[in-house]
């Protein structure tokens, strides 16, 4: 049978189970789009910027665990994907990015809209391909999806010259393919499992640090079993939030730069750390040289290169988190750590991290807490990057698996809205809330049109402080309150939304908050709320500049006069 390169590509996507793609048209991908009507199984979501397409593909992938697919034309289309690809790389998100390329004879001649996108994305993809030989297309598509979703997931880019899309050649679908040099380890080495069990059994003051790896491998039950069996408090990373229900008795919040005080103290004081699917990122460890030097550390990760990269560990186990925890749970003994756990409870009581003070103005913490109450914790929360991201992570209560979608490793402003679009497309039944900052929102604000065109019932809450707030907080605390280039005069977001056919409202006073949220929820379609929050509110707790996990600013309000909502 004969097929064009474009048909082979789309046939491959269908065979990989792709139902939706995100992206933008352009010269070199016209043949691909032109072929799409022959493959009605695939729905294409037209975004308004390729960065939006990449983040939407990420949001889709993060919400569903499936591979997110984005498409862009050569040159500027391809370079616009770069931020989203980098974001997916740092947070291990399975993604296949498809880019058009100039025709084969023109490659290397600086032809119109030519960029070396495989070169540009070399350090931010798990792997990438330039398809020079049309019959290799089916194999490359298979390999790309396999690489994106297996092992430590990540983005894979396929760059396709326009004439390859158009060329018709003999089609052979590869039943098998061979990647001899790529064989991720799934099972933990038995000797290492036994060593780890011994360390865990001997522990007196253990903590589990759970990262996104738990969510990626779907090891919720196994994590809970380990924690309950050995009575070990579970602390997550930012990206590990919802790996264990936050209302679980052994859940002790998340650690790091803006983590809970008791979580940081426990991590600092533990005699044993079981790090699961996390990579000791500097936002989680704070000053890395001061990170608990006396604990024995067990580190479980599917990526051997993460072991010993930032922190020296005592017992490394390379493998898939779910498989390894299943092995480990068989050999770990039941135990109790009553004194240790009551110590954590004591820290949590004496260092309340999440209280909300009484105020007439709209406090962001209060807004997030009210969204939690109104959605009964059932929503999927997607955030931008900044203070609002931290408040969203702190004040919503995550009891459902994989219910927070946020840009951790790259910290990409503008992630929120398009990622929420992707999440809503992937979870059509879910209540998806995009909690965004006024700065972040304006970076990808044009995707409001995508929401409208796709009729997505997304709820958008802008925590509008009129500042690039997180940077302003640093200026306030560490740069003599000199607010250089951080005040933002935003547009009227409600009017902007209306212009896109999306209803909205503004909440200026505390008493506006609940009615606005209720209005959003009663609306069947999308809705936007512009929360005019206290402009100079800070995020606490906060690790001091260059400080260790326990060198914290707890904030005056946190220390005194605290009122719980």
């Amino acid at each position: 049978m004969k097929m064009t390169g474009a048909q082979m590509m789309l046939d491959g996507l269908v065979k990989e189970g792709v139902e939706v793609t995100f992206g933008i048209q352009g010269g070199k991908v016209i043949p691909l789009f032109d072929t799409m009507p022959q493959f009605p199984q695939i729905h294409h979501v037209l975004t308004r910027h390729e960065q939006g397409a990449a983040h939407a593909a990420e949001g889709y992938a993060r919400a569903t665990g499936k591979v997110g697919v984005c498409i862009a034309t050569s040159g500027p289309g391809a370079t616009n994907l770069v931020t989203g690809i980098a974001d997916a790389f740092l947070d291990s998100v399975p993604m296949v990015a498809i880019t058009g390329q100039v025709n084969r004879p023109d490659i290397g001649k600086d032809a119109f809209q030519e960029v070396d996108i495989t070169g540009i994305t070399l350090p931010i993809t798990k792997h990438n391909y330039l398809v020079l030989d049309t019959p290799s297309m089916p194999r490359i598509v298979r390999e790309a999806f396999y690489l994106a979703r297996t092992g430590r997931p990540g983005p894979v880019l396929i760059d396709v010259p326009g004439d390859v899309f158009m060329e018709e050649t003999e089609f052979h679908y590869p039943k098998e393919f061979d990647l001899p040099s790529y064989k991720p380890t799934l099972r933990g080495h038995p000797a290492q499992i036994n060593k780890a069990a011994k360390v865990i059994n001997d522990a007196r003051q253990p903590v589990i640090l759970a990262g996104r790896g738990v969510i990626v491998s779907g090891a919720y039950a196994e994590l809970k079993e380990l924690a309950e069996k050995a009575q070990i408090p579970v602390i997550t990373t930012l990206l590990g939030i919802s790996a264990i229900p936050e209302s679980h008795v052994l859940s002790y919040g998340w650690l790091g730069m803006h983590g809970m005080v008791h979580a940081n103290m426990a991590t600092d004081a533990a005699d044993t750390i079981i790090a699961i699917g996390m990579r000791f990122d500097d936002r989680a460890t704070a000053k890395v040289s001061a990170f608990n030097t006396r604990a024995r550390i067990v580190h479980i990760d599917i990526d051997p290169a993460e072991i010993g990269k930032n922190i020296k560990v005592d017992v490394p186990i390379v493998g898939d988190v779910k498989t390894v925890l299943t092995q480990l749970n068989k050999v770990v003994e039941t135990s109790q750590h009553i004194d240790w756990i009551s110590q954590l409870d004591e820290w949590r009581r004496t260092h309340p991290s999440l209280n909300i003070r009484d105020s007439e103005s709209v406090l962001p913490q209060y807004v997030v807490r009210q969204i939690y109450e109104a959605t009964k914790g059932e929503a999927t929360i997607v955030t931008g990057v900044g203070q609002h991201q931290m408040w969203a992570a702190q004040y919503y209560h995550y009891d459902h698996p994989n219910s927070l979608i946020t840009s951790g490793g790259l910290g990409t402003m503008g992630f929120g809205l398009p990622a929420a679009i992707g999440a809503q497309v992937g979870r059509p039944e879910a209540i998806v809330w995009c909690l965004d900052g006024d700065g972040s929102f304006q970076m990808t604000i044009q995707e409001l049109a995508t929401i409208q065109q796709e009729r997505l019932p997304l709820k958008i809450a802008i925590l509008n402080n009129g500042f690039l707030g997180m940077v302003r907080q640093w200026q306030e605390l560490f740069f003599g309150k000199r607010y250089v280039a951080t005040p933002l005069s935003g547009p009227d977001f409600v009017k902007v939304a209306e212009a896109y056919g999306i209803p909205g409202t503004m909440a200026k006073r505390r008493e506006d908050v609940i009615p606005a949220i209720e209005q959003a929820l009663s609306e069947p379609g999308p809705f936007l709320i512009d929360f005019r929050i206290e402009p100079e509110e800070n995020v606490y707790p906060m690790v001091k500049l260059g400080g260790s996990l326990v060198e914290l600013l707890e904030g005056e309000d946190v220390k005194k006069g605290v009122v719980k909502s």
Binding site: K126, S181, K183, T185, R187, A191, Q192, P304, I317, V318
Partner: protein
């Protein structure tokens, strides 16, 4: 950078862009490549690279794992502390005239090097050996004036009957299993 010179050998897929992937990764992770030599290996479609880099054991182990993680690498091994044969080849074009030529030839003989080209005002010497040997020869020839120098960089192989793909010395189980079917 503190640490020692390490010799890494890698078996990689013989495809365009592979050298770039390896070199780019070293650069990105802040390693300075002292030399890199690439050529065919005993297995069709696999090239063998010898990379010489500076760093502490922990840094090099991290680099090794990162290189090993690339989809195009079959195996990367740090053979620095193994019993290895190390060779490099150099071509040295030395200024020579009728007075100095015989002296140069004597030195070349002592080093069991070869004269591969002779011109009116120069001779070209080919020498094989470890870096020390080449360095010593160079320092002796420098006095005559060196017009051109080309060194291949190190290639290396462990002594004894083992081969890179057969060898296994990973203690955590990570690498052994990475390359096993799963």
């Amino acid at each position: 950078m503190t640490g020692n010179k390490h010799t890494l050998v890698a078996l990689v897929e013989d495809r365009p862009g592979v050298l770039n992937r390896m070199a780019s990764l070293c650069r990105r992770r802040g390693f300075n490549i002292e030399s890199i030599a690439v050529g065919h290996s005993e297995t069709p479609r696999l090239s063998r690279m010898t990379i010489v880099v500076d760093g502490t054991n922990a840094m090099i182990e991290q680099l090794r794992k990162q290189l090993d993680k690339l989809v195009v690498t079959m195996k990367v091994s740090d053979i620095t502390s193994d019993n290895i044969v190390v060779r490099e080849l150099a071509l040295i074009k030395v200024k020579a005239n009728s007075e100095t030529r015989s002296e140069i030839i004597q030195i070349v003989d002592i080093f069991r090097a070869d004269i591969v080209d002779v011109a009116e005002e120069s001779v070209t010497v080919e020498v094989t050996g470890d870096e020390d040997k080449i360095d010593s020869l160079l320092s002796l020839l420098r006095g005559f004036g060196i017009k051109e120098l080309s060194r291949t960089g190190r290639i290396a192989m462990t002594r004894g009957g083992t081969s890179l793909l057969g060898e296994d010395k990973d203690k955590t189980g990570g690498r052994r299993q990475k390359k096993a079917a799963s």
